[in-house]
């Protein structure tokens, strides 16, 4: 009996080691770009939870396959042999129906918690308009943000530590406003205004990407988001206001 | 069973078996009938997709219905509904007639049904010509024309089927034993009628 069980013990031990190594590697790999918002932090944690939950499942599947190939492959002389006629095992089937159901519902429940935290409206937030058109982005800073006239710019500046609500509109076809460093995106749809909100936490310049095929120039529909300290943001707004003070109302009216 | 290569059907037709063994019938439902019912499921889903469009434009977006400045001829369309519904009865009558072996009844029933269907389509086209708006005007007009037009296309297909059945009826086909050729197109025609009741209710009345 002991000798028969040895391969299974070897397989089980290797599987456990593989799971451990897999989890370690999953932390070592540099999966994401810079983590520049509170939402990114939550969503990266979710990702790691998902990976840790997935590794054992994958390892178990592969272990069973490899173990079967190792132990049960046809040996010489077994050409006409059949396996034992096992038709099923209700207890086992209930087990592998129930456990994944619970696991999946648990994970999806946790993802809703993350979603709610990420989309919660904070006490204070500013709104910035985003307009997509083939093949460029432009940004509208309303008077509530500028403290003066509305500003329309092709540059995106956001203050660090303040929640920003992007109100997105399209002038032609569907685009998607994606900032990988914030881990957030949403389609920009003609006819409706869509939103997402983020709180930037890390100063720096990050790419803004159009992530929905919008035509010939889609590959080049890029922009940059500048996350800057509050004071610098105010200064930038002030410079925009003074620059456009000549042709005052041009920005806000077009949106 | 030992034939390794496929024998050429023409070469062997005379001396080997002349066809396949009769298939076992594992269900009481006729294959043709079942095929038509499944096809109607597909058709219902086509209408379902158009009704989805209708739902989004009229209900989800809350656009006024009918669009401002347009009216739908509810009365005329109601007349038309009556015409189409009565054609369902006449085709049923034709089916009953042939089941009893009454060829004259079959011919009369089919011809009446066909003519009723034609008048429905004619009135519908006439309605398009006089309704005073075009599908290019706005989304409501688009979906009005699309739903009624989709149904009209089905009436047209149904009429073709009815025409073929009528031709065959006048050529003396069908008998009390063999009347599936009337029955299966008949089911399609009933479907077209029922679908019109749905379209009429949602588009004109509600």
């Amino acid at each position: 009996m002991g000798r028969q069980q040895r391969p299974i013990v070897i397989a089980a031990v290797s599987a456990v080691i593989a799971i451990a190594i897999g989890i370690v590697i999953s932390y070592a790999i540099h999966w994401f770009p810079a983590q520049a918002s509170t939402q990114a932090k939550e969503s990266d944690t979710l990702y790691h939870v998902l990976v840790i939950a997935s590794i054992p499942i994958f390892v178990i599947v592969v272990s069973v396959i490899l173990y079967s190939v190792w132990q049960f492959h046809m040996k010489p002389g077994e050409e006409l042999k059949d396996g034992p006629p096992i038709h099923g095992n209700t207890r086992l089937e209930v087990f592998w129906t129930a456990i994944p159901t619970v696991l999946l519902l648990g994970l999806v429940g946790y993802s809703f918690v993350v979603l709610r935290n990420n989309e919660k409206k904070p006490a204070h937030e500013i709104q910035i308009g985003v307009t997509g058109q083939q093949f460029a982005w432009s940004y509208q800073y309303p008077p509530s943000v500028t403290g003066g006239a509305a500003v329309n710019s092709n540059q995106l500046y956001v203050p660090k530590g303040t929640s920003v609500d992007f109100a997105m509109r399209s002038n032609d076809v569907i685009h998607a406003f994606w900032i990988p460093a914030f881990r957030l995106q949403e389609d920009v749809v003609p006819g409706i205004t869509t939103h997402w909100r983020t709180t930037p936490t890390l100063t720096g310049d990050y790419p803004v990407v159009c992530n929905l095929l919008c035509g010939l120039g889609h590959s080049l529909m890029r922009s940059t988001v500048h996350v800057v300290p509050e004071a610098q943001f105010k200064a930038w707004i002030a410079s925009q206001l003074s620059a456009s003070s000549g042709g005052s109302t041009s920005g806000g009216a077009s949106g | 069973m030992e034939a390794a290569s496929i024998p050429h059907p023409a070469a062997h037709a005379e001396h080997e078996h002349h066809g396949p063994p009769a298939a076992n019938r594992s269900s009481r439902v006729e294959p043709q009938l079942l095929g038509m019912l499944l096809f109607i499921i597909s058709e219902i889903m086509v209408f379902g997709a158009f009704f989805t469009a209708y739902f989004f434009i009229r209900i989800a977006n809350g656009d006024p219905w009918p669009a401002h400045g347009t009216t739908l001829p509810v009365g005329v369309a109601g007349m038309n509904t009556a015409i189409l519904v009565s054609s369902s009865f006449t085709i049923h009558w034709a089916e009953q007639a042939i089941k009893k072996g009454n060829h004259l009844g079959l011919k009369a029933g089919m011809l009446t049904t066909f003519l009723l269907g034609c008048s429905f389509l004619f009135i519908q086209i006439n309605e398009y010509a006089n309704i005073g708006f075009a599908p290019q005007d706005a989304a409501q007009q688009t979906i009005f024309y699309s739903l009624t037009g989709l149904h009209g296309a089905h009436v047209f297909i149904g009429l073709l089927l009815l025409l073929f059945v009528t031709i065959r009826a006048f050529r003396g086909h069908y008998s009390p034993e063999e009347h599936r050729g009337v029955e299966v197109p008949g089911i399609y025609w009933h479907f077209v009628d029922v679908m019109w009741l749905v379209v009429y209710t949602t588009v004109y009345i509600l």
Partner: protein, 636 residues
């Protein structure tokens, strides 16, 4: 000569197609003239003629080749004749190029035609990878690149995966259930000939003014509404491919329901039959939605309707709802028949009954039901109402349960079996590995906050290829190797087959594995150039993809040489129990001399004296009502 043009065939088809073009020209001219100069500046518009031609010419071709002949007889009131079988069987390769009502010939036609489009689609992928090997390269221009990935996806989805399963099913299912043919052989023939039409139409779009359709296979409105005429080729090509799928699905359902052999209760059907039954339900119910979505686009394009014109009250998101209501179930249409193939292969090659047969069948039906409730998980970032994400995320997570049941049951089937590790089995095991990965990334994508980040990125590209290549294509290879002796009467080269498996498996993972990271890192899909930070991984992927492309040549070489000169196959080389293996290879023209009687389950390997079907009259009627898993072997 005149007779040549009157008899159904390619000559008549060519003539009819010419007529189709003339008809389209005349029709548009008359309509434009009747509606007047105020609306139209020119009576002859190339776009209008092309659009109408794209409907008229394929139909004319089908009439010419003879797809409708019988129904014309019927319509004209001539005497109906029962199937005369004159077009059964194939004695030379030329018989594969005519209307043929034999399900085995149609099965081969389907399969070969599908693999032709696999090669074309694969070649297109190679061009794309050549462009993407370096950022900012100019191997092809931007518009061509957009056309390449759109045609790549459309061909492989609508002209390869969906029809190749229908082809294998066409060949095998009537044999498996003990039927002499499909329920509607003429419809079956017509459904095949729609496919080359649809495929050539999509390929032909490359020659259209303005280039091929370039809006992705999803063809989101309003981009597709304002695109050049190439988009019409897609909108109409999909109609023909969709009509073909619906016809075949209808045929499968009616055949399976009404033509099973005596004793073949539903729970004695092989799981491949179950899988195609479930798939056909999905096709019949869901396919009309993609047809409608493309009708909407076409009406907007050609006649100026306002379905997707936001300025006139149209609704852009409606397109996505209608489109995904088909295209999500389509994922299962592309996967369930593969599940069926894997069940056949694993049971036979592991010499064990399928573990939990009934759960395997029920989980298929569960996937069918749940498959209709998850479509909006493609739209988590679409701007639809936020609450819809919650039910859709839950159903998406739950649909992994029946899929998991299948995976675990296959693993349990392997356990303590006698594993014959030939090519078909290797592909089945490879499938289990890669599809598990695809399933796992699928579950991750159900988690809304994560999906918000990776939606429409290379993570999605990786996921879909793990599901459709690592999932569907692996099962297709397994199925082709498994039934190759039955379909051709020849054995394939096992050594080459194993080489094919290992090269495919390794290069597949090297190609698509790193794409997950690219997506997480922030590389969007459907771009012809990218930020330089992604350059290393992309070069690596491109090189691996060329290896993957080359590995396919091993398969093609093996199939062609084996078909021409492989050793003759015996009737049942795998010692399988299911009925298709109980006749000669290839099967006789009419499948069976006598309809077999089924007396036991299809997978009773290891059960002493187990028999699935016998070719004698039923011993007694009581045998017919027993359930699956219970063996009533005649005493020996």
């Amino acid at each position: 000569m005149a007779a040549r043009f009157r008899a159904p065939g390619f000559y008549r088809a060519a003539l009819m197609m010419l007529g189709g073009v003339l008809f389209a020209t005349a029709l548009t001219w008359i309509v434009r003239m009747a509606t007047g100069h105020a609306t139209f500046h020119h009576y002859l518009s190339p776009d209008a003629i092309l659009t109408v031609s794209l409907i008229a010419v394929p139909l004319a071709f089908l009439v010419g080749i003879g797809g409708f002949d019988y129904w014309f007889y019927w319509a004209a009131g001539r005497a109906t004749r029962p199937e005369d079988h004159s077009s059964h069987g194939a004695s030379s390769w030329k018989d594969y190029f005519r209307i043929n009502t034999d399900h085995k010939v149609i099965g081969v036609q389907y399969t070969v035609n599908s693999f032709f489009f696999l090669l074309v689609g694969g070649l297109i992928a190679m061009l794309m990878r050549a462009q993407l090997a370096q950022p900012g390269s100019h191997f092809v221009d931007g518009n061509t690149f957009n056309g390449l990935f759109s045609v790549h996806a459309s061909l492989l989805i609508f002209l390869f995966i969906i029809p190749v399963f229908a082809g294998l099913g066409n060949f095998v299912i009537p044999l498996m259930i003990g039927a002499p043919d499909m329920a509607f052989p003429r419809l079956n023939a017509l459904s095949f000939w729609l496919l080359p039409v649809a495929g050539l139409m999509m390929l032909g779009s490359f020659f259209a003014p303005g280039g091929a359709f370039a809006d992705g296979w999803t063809a989101y409105a309003p981009l597709s509404v304002n695109a050049p005429i190439g988009q019409t080729f897609f909108a109409l090509g999909v109609q023909f491919a969709g009509a073909s799928s619906i016809m075949t699905a209808l045929n499968f359902l009616v055949t399976i329901i009404t033509m099973r052999a005596p004793g073949m209760s539903f729970f004695r059907m092989p799981l491949l039959v179950w899988a195609n039954f479930a798939t056909s339900l999905l096709v019949v119910i869901a396919t009309p939605f993609i047809a409608a979505s493309q009708f909407f686009v076409l009406l907007d394009r050609a006649l100026g309707f306002n379905f997707f014109n936001a300025a006139k009250g149209g609704d852009v998101l409606m397109y996505q709802h209608v489109f995904w209501f088909y295209s999500h179930p389509a994922v299962y249409i592309m996967m369930l028949p593969g599940f069926g193939i894997i069940s056949e292969v694993i049971a036979v090659k592991a010499r064990k009954p399928i573990f939990g047969y009934r759960m395997m069948a029920f989980s298929l039906l569960a996937i069918v039901g749940l498959g209709f409730t998850v479509w909006a998980h493609h739209m988590f970032t679409s701007g639809m109402a936020a609450w819809i994400r919650i039910p859709m995320a839950i159903t998406t997570a739950v649909i992994a349960v029946p899929t998991g049941i299948k995976i675990f049951s296959w693993l349990a089937t392997l356990w303590r079996g006698v594993l014959h590790l030939d090519t078909a089995m290797l592909f089945a095991l490879g499938f289990l590995t890669t599809f598990t990965l695809g399933g796992i990334s699928g579950v991750m994508l159900a988690m809304v906050p994560f999906d918000i980040h990776v939606s429409a990125t290379y993570f999605i590209v990786a996921h879909i290829h793990y599901v459709l290549f690592g999932g569907s294509l692996m099962t297709i290879y397994a199925g082709v190797y498994y039934w190759f002796p039955k379909m051709t009467g020849r054995m394939y080269d096992e050594r080459l087959g194993k080489w094919h498996f290992w090269t495919t498996f390794v290069f597949f993972n090297l190609t698509f594995g790193p794409m997950h990271i690219l997506g997480l890192q922030g590389m969007p899909r459907r771009v012809s150039t990218y930020a330089s930070q992604f350059a290393d991984l992309n070069l690596f992927i491109s090189i691996a993809s060329f290896g993957l492309g080359l590995s396919t040549l091993l398969f093609i070489y093996n199939i062609i040489t084996s078909w021409r000169g492989g050793p003759r196959a015996v009737g049942n080389p795998w010692r399988a129990l299911t009925l298709e293996w109980q006749v000669s290879s290839p099967p006789p023209v009419f499948n069976f001399d006598r309809v077999p009687t089924v007396v036991g389950g299809p997978y009773e390997y290891g059960v002493p004296g187990a028999v699935h079907g016998i070719f004698a009259p039923a011993p007694s009627p009581t045998v017919a009502d027993a359930g699956a898993g219970v063996v009533h072997a005649p005493s020996q």
